[in-house]
């Protein structure tokens, strides 16, 4: 187990570094992400970019499995995951003001999350449990297709759908394009509403869009995503490479029946749910 975890962190860390640092680094092939041995140190770990090589189809694709059975038994886990995300990313708190709210990972009932599924005769567990909602980091993201400036883009090395807050012009085309309601806009300066400032992650200015980034900045340091760490040891949220048959997440996916949100839209979400 420990060995597996180490391996996962190396992969995640190196691939995140390749993606998050600068657009030039994004071009790293998945191969170099695998080859790296020191996730936290780019100089030693990641191989230099090799031009415009096409990412191999077997490249890293980070994904998540959310086990709602665990969360139903321990609803406090989801609250813990949400608050650790809020602290990690300086997410402002507008005290329930629907107009301004910024949401990266949040709670919603089954019927809102799985709009394509039937809601008649749901078991009590499903009716009573709040589901975790976050960006699906789609393999074919409509928001990336819509963005006119490449301010939101898919990181080739690991499949994360990332945002460049400094390039975003605030046209909100991505918000109209996202079929999952995963994106938030800073209608006003969010900084006065950040409860506890975390100097390790940038605060945003008004007029830009933001959303869950699968904790690319934490992966780069060899850490797990904040929400995953908050649920450590419970199996509520499992994170890893969907393309690696040996990964923990793949073993769960191979074993359990999972569902994705709105599969008919062809976006290929990377977030799976066990209900």
């Amino acid at each position: 187990m420990d060995k597996q975890r180490r391996k996962f962190l190396k992969i995640a860390g190196a691939s995140a570094l390749a993606g998050i640092g600068a657009p030039a680094l994004v071009k790293l092939t998945a191969g170099s992400a695998y080859a790296s041995t020191h996730g936290a140190a780019p100089a030693h770990g990641a191989a230099p970019a090799t031009g415009h090589a096409e990412a191999a189809p077997t490249g890293v694709r980070l994904g998540m499995v959310i086990d709602m059975r665990v969360i139903a038994d321990h609803p406090a886990l989801l609250d813990k995951a949400i608050s650790s995300c809020t602290e990690a990313h300086n997410i402002p708190d507008f005290a329930g003001d629907r107009k301004n709210e910024i949401k990266w990972i949040w709670k919603a009932p089954f019927g809102s999350v799985f709009t394509e599924h039937s809601t008649s005769h749901l078991p009590k567990m499903v009716q009573d449990t709040d589901f975790a909602v976050l960006c699906n980091h789609c393999d074919d993201p409509p928001c990336v297709r819509a963005c006119p400036t490449k301010a939101t883009f898919k990181v080739k090395a690991n499949g994360i759908v990332a945002m460049d807050f400094h390039r975003c012009i605030g046209c909100r085309f991505c918000m109209a394009a996202c079929p999952y309601g995963a994106r938030s806009f800073n209608w006003q300066d969010p900084r006065p509403y950040v409860k506890k400032y975390n100097p390790d992650f940038p605060t945003r200015m008004r007029g830009v869009v933001e959303k869950c980034n699968f904790c690319g900045e934490r992966l780069a340091l060899g850490k797990e995503p904040a929400c995953v760490e908050a649920c450590k040891g419970t199996g509520a949220i499992v994170f890893g490479d969907l393309n690696d048959p040996q990964s923990e997440i793949r073993q769960i996916l191979d074993r359990e029946f999972t569902i994705q949100r709105k599969p008919s839209l062809g976006t290929k979400p990377s977030v799976f749910y066990i209900v």
Partner: protein, 390 residues
Amino acid sequence: MIEKTLKGKPAYWIWLAFLGMFMAVGVACYVRQYLFGLGLTGMSRDVSWGLYISQFTFLVGVAAGGVMLVLPYYIHDYKVFGRITILGEFLAIAAIVMCLLFIMADLGQPLRALNVVLHPTPNSMLFYDMIVLNGYLFLNILCGWVILTAERKQVHPPKWIYFFVYLSIPFAVSIHTVTAMLYCGLPGRHFWLSAIIAPRFLASAFAAGPALIVLISLILKRVANYDAGKEAINKLVTIMIYSALLNLFFIGLEFFVGYYSNIPGHKETLQYLFFGLEHHGHVYNNLVPFMWASIIFMVGSIAMLATPAIRKGNEFLLGLACLILFTGLWIDKGLGFVFGGFVPNPLLEITEYIPTANELGIALGIWATGFFVLTLLYKIAVNVEHEIEH
């Protein structure tokens, strides 16, 4: 020719001052918005586009409507439109100016607008919209100016200009098609995800643009002694009637698909717009009166326009019918289409949108700016015509 805008009767200056007042209010409101952020609008996380983008969408149609004059006049050599075509070309310029201002007003980071050019992204429909809108603006300025200059000198326009005139025709169609594609290519927004959006946009544009041109022509006849000609107006009214009927037909088809298939996603927004949508025991219906007013306006004005006594005998009622039709189409596309598309949101929750006073101030200011530009352009066109006659 620009010097012609500097001389005019007191009414001309009073009208410009009247528009200037609204422009000043708009600037003041925009400064407030610029300093605080788009939080001063009624938009929200759920309804993330509001009045600005809806006005933009409608005005692209007004701009494209000018092609209903350019096409018969230049392609079919329909001489009756000789005096009115320039009005269509100049209206397109003013409408595109408004479109671009509305886009700028809607940006969260307006100073970064050039990122669209610095980081061109051909998979984004906004990239193509930028190209065709600016292209159409350029073509109309070029064609309008060159042809008016030739007219003033009483010579034939240079041959090369016809290349650009013909080019402006597919551009007119493309600006509204690409604008429709901003909406109809988005997965998960069922109301917009319809192949009929682009044709519906064009039909409504070919009614709204000419309606405004006829209305303005009737006003110019009174205040500027500029007669576009009875036959030209009569022909435009015919175009308007058919286009408005097509638009109604397309709306009817949307209703059929939604309600006969009975697929919730296809009918929820129509339900919200026209009847009110129930959610957790509350009925959300703040656009219902507007949408029915729109239908009544469109049907009523078509009936008025089709009445020979009004169409040929009563200029006041004809102008009124044009105004009602324009308003009906404006509610249909300039309010309901964009606002409705966000209800319900992707999680089937409902947030209603009501523009704020500051937002209305900016929108009014941009409309006033458009009419200010239009007034100056029409002043030039009318004076040139008068100059030739003397």
